[in-house]
């Protein structure tokens, strides 16, 4: 206990960017979760009131018939965004843990057992997660008035509809904090904090080709399901609902599997590039990726996700172009707004997660940057290695996301749309590239600062 009593002394001295990064991650993660869930709730409650309002007499109003479709779209958007926002939260937890490793080793040095240190580490993450989550909820409440201005082709949503029910906030706070704690505990299981520092298992990474098979298999399953399910469920009651549910699940699995195949592809390509690299920057960047393909993939996974969403939106965009009556135009407006909103949120997620992971990686490699610079590596060379380290997974992510999105869209797309789809996807890819370039540029001064730090 006395060790734990001394812990605050050791843990306290920190500040600036190292503490801010995980909190920014938690804030963005919780803020987006609250906004997305609140938005889904708004569609659901609007559907409920309109449904009962039009009653049993007469045909459903255009708004009511559109709403049931919009609810499905809102569910799809939620399925797309929630896992990614949760992923950002768990990345923030790992980051928060990594920032503390030296301190935790110091606690071990003054006599803390690993169980005590583990509890301390998780408690520390929980505090940061809770702080970030509270900030995230505040942020969500702050942007909600702006969201009432969005046009979904019907009466605008009110603030009351867009916020979550009151009981939802403590629950969300609890859930995000718990998620952070669990992520930290899992991450902690992979490291040994000894009094002399933190030893990470330095085993050589191997990636199984099964990852590739899973991803390809899921895409084929999705395409197959859309081909054959209509025949299978044709006669069944509620067949449409079953079909939408199955394809939504498969779609979520396809999008999730992008993160399974990604590290494998990065690993294979990075090893090939490292063996052939003619320049030191490519050699170092590729070797770093080969040593930890998961981390390399993580640093661009936010962007990948935004790309998949962008690719997917080409589908809904095309669906919206059908119908010429008032209801059709309203639907088109709603889908445009919803699509752009989803893409916007995905872009925010991508920007935050890319910025946070890039900055964290620079801080983590501070010592290595410093000794390389001392030994005569110009800061430009360090930057080039970092650009290679991001550029390789980014290029691969663009391809994987493109193929995945094509797989999602393929079942419904007809020949004439292909060019348009490819063009709008390329546009999104350029946007994603710009986002990453921006985050690389933003953390570039930090490389120089870290490399020249100390002596």
């Amino acid at each position: 206990m006395s060790v734990l009593a001394a812990a605050p002394l050791v843990l306290r001295r920190h500040g600036g960017i190292a503490t801010a990064l995980p909190i920014i991650g938690f804030t963005a993660s919780t803020g987006i979760l609250a906004t997305v869930l609140g938005g889904l709730g708004a569609f659901l409650s609007r559907a409920a009131t309109v449904g009962t309002g039009s009653g049993a007499d007469g045909p459903p109003t255009p708004e009511a018939s559109n709403l049931s479709f919009l609810v499905i779209c809102a569910i799809v958007a939620t399925v797309l965004l929630v896992p990614s926002a949760m992923g950002l939260g768990s990345a923030a937890a790992k980051l928060s843990l990594a920032r503390r490793e030296k301190d935790l080793a110091a606690v071990r040095l003054v006599g803390g057992t690993s169980a005590q240190v583990g509890a301390l580490a998780v408690a520390d993450v929980l505090v940061q997660a809770m702080l970030g989550s509270v900030l995230g909820i505040v942020l969500h409440l702050a942007v909600t008035p702006a969201l009432t201005l969005l046009d979904f082709g019907m009466d605008r949503f009110t603030i009351g509809e867009l916020v979550m029910p009151l009981w939802g906030y403590p629950l969300l706070l609890f859930a995000t904090t718990l998620l952070a704690g669990i992520s930290a505990a899992i991450a902690l299981a992979g490291v040994v904090i000894s009094p002399l520092g933190v030893a990470r298992e330095s085993r050589i990474v191997r990636m199984s080709v099964v990852r590739l098979v899973v991803w390809a298999g899921l895409i084929l399953a999705f395409i197959g399901a859309l081909q054959f399910l209509p025949m299978l469920v044709g006669g069944v009651e509620n067949g449409m609902v079953v079909m939408i549910a199955v394809s939504a699940v498969l779609m979520a699995l396809v999008i999730g599997s992008v993160n399974i195949v990604g590290p494998f592809v990065v690993w294979v390509i990075a090893r090939i590039l490292a063996a052939l690299a003619p320049t030191p920057a490519l050699l170092v960047g590729a070797r770093r990726l080969a040593a930890d393909p998961r981390a390399g993939w993580r640093s661009v996974s936010g962007v990948t996700f935004a790309l998949v969403v962008a690719g997917f939106l080409t589908l809904t965009g095309m669906l919206g172009e059908q119908g010429d009556d008032a209801a059709g135009r309203a639907l088109a407006t709603a889908l445009d707004t919803g699509g752009l909103l989803t893409l916007g949120i995905a872009a925010v997620l991508a920007a935050v997660s890319t910025g946070v992971t890039q900055t964290a990686r620079v801080l983590d490699q501070g010592r290595v940057y410093r000794s390389q610079h001392v030994a005569g590596a110009p800061v430009v060379a360090l930057q080039r290695a970092r650009i290679a380290e991001i550029g390789i997974p980014l290029a691969l992510a663009g391809m994987i996301a493109g193929v995945s999105a094509a797989g999602l869209v393929a079942p419904v797309i007809s020949g004439g749309f292909v060019l348009e789809a490819v063009l709008s996807y390329l546009l999104a890819a350029v946007g994603a590239l710009g986002l990453v370039a921006l985050s690389v540029a933003a953390s570039a001064p930090l490389v120089g600062r870290v490399a020249r730090a100390g002596a």
Binding site: L283, V374, A381
Partner: protein, 279 residues
């Protein structure tokens, strides 16, 4: 801020009669911190390093050894004084020129190796040459022969995590020498190794530098390590307190054990038997 190569500092007699020094430091002063709290880490150091000479830097903790090394290597600009390398003053060079100089003319061996953990031994060793623009193939051939000479046959493709501390340090030596330096700087290069391993690594380091024709400037706390060098300077409070030249007769046995004779340096002992050095 820095004194140029001014005649205000009279040239010292070189420590050994012979060719012009590869590094010449005059009137070095270095202060850390701002006006409110300054530490004068170097307080008037004059030092010449002859080509291919091996020099040990000793002294109690905090006396300025690391600072001296960093100033000599152009990592730190001295507050005043000058360091001449091949006739040009390091402080007068731009940051990027000094960085290039460190890459092309100097080699570094750090206490814990500081190899890139993701690269193989061979890739670590070729990095300085590749940074200098050499093609990978020729850099690899050269570095591979260094690794073999340092006793690392068959380990070229291992990552640092798969090597022992002594093996990793030998990779660091190969890396330092791969850039064909004229001076190798080592700051407690064996501080993280056990004594026996440390001594064998140092013998390898000194031999390799001699083979490569590079001067060696090495900070160490171990008198028996210092005794393997041709010359030892003992620092105290930012100054060179004493210098010792090793008896050439002992040069034949560079890895000899410690003997309590007059050539051993004990930085904390009050009187050096050789007295006063060359100042």
């Amino acid at each position: 801020m820095t004194a140029q190569n001014s005649p205000a500092h009279p040239p010292l007699r070189p420590p050994t009669a012979g060719p012009a020094p590869v590094l010449a430091a005059r009137g070095l002063q270095h202060a850390y911190g701002d006006r409110s709290a300054t530490t004068l880490a170097l307080d008037g150091v004059d030092l010449d390093v002859a080509p291919a000479e091996s020099l040990a830097v000793m002294g109690p903790s905090g006396c300025g050894k690391t600072t001296l090394l960093h100033v000599l290597a152009g990592i730190l600009r001295p507050t005043s004084g000058s360091v001449l390398h091949a006739g040009s003053d390091l402080s007068a060079l731009s940051e990027s020129r000094r960085t290039r100089l460190r890459r092309t003319a100097f080699g570094f061996v750090f206490q814990d190796g500081r190899l890139l953990p993701e690269l193989t031994a061979l890739e670590n060793a070729i990095l300085p040459r590749m940074l200098g623009g050499a093609p990978r193939r020729s850099a690899s051939a050269e570095a591979a022969s260094w690794l073999d000479r340092l006793g690392l046959q068959g380990l070229h493709d291992r990552r640092p995590g798969q090597l022992s501390g002594g093996q990793a340090q030998r990779v660091a030596i190969a890396r330092a020498l791969g850039g064909r330096p004229s001076v190798v700087f080592a700051d407690e290069p064996t501080g993280a190794l056990d004594q026996a391993t440390g001594h064998s690594v140092l013998a390898v380091l000194a031999d390799a530098c001699r083979d490569a024709g590079a001067a060696l400037v090495m900070v160490t706390h171990d008198p028996s390590v210092a005794s393997t060098c041709e010359r030892t300077i003992a620092m105290r409070d930012g100054r060179i307190a004493r210098q010792f030249q090793r008896d050439p007769a002992q040069g034949a046995a560079p890895t000899q054990q410690v003997r309590p004779d007059s050539h051993q340096v004990h930085p904390d002992s009050q009187q050096g038997a050789v007295g006063g050095g060359r100042r």
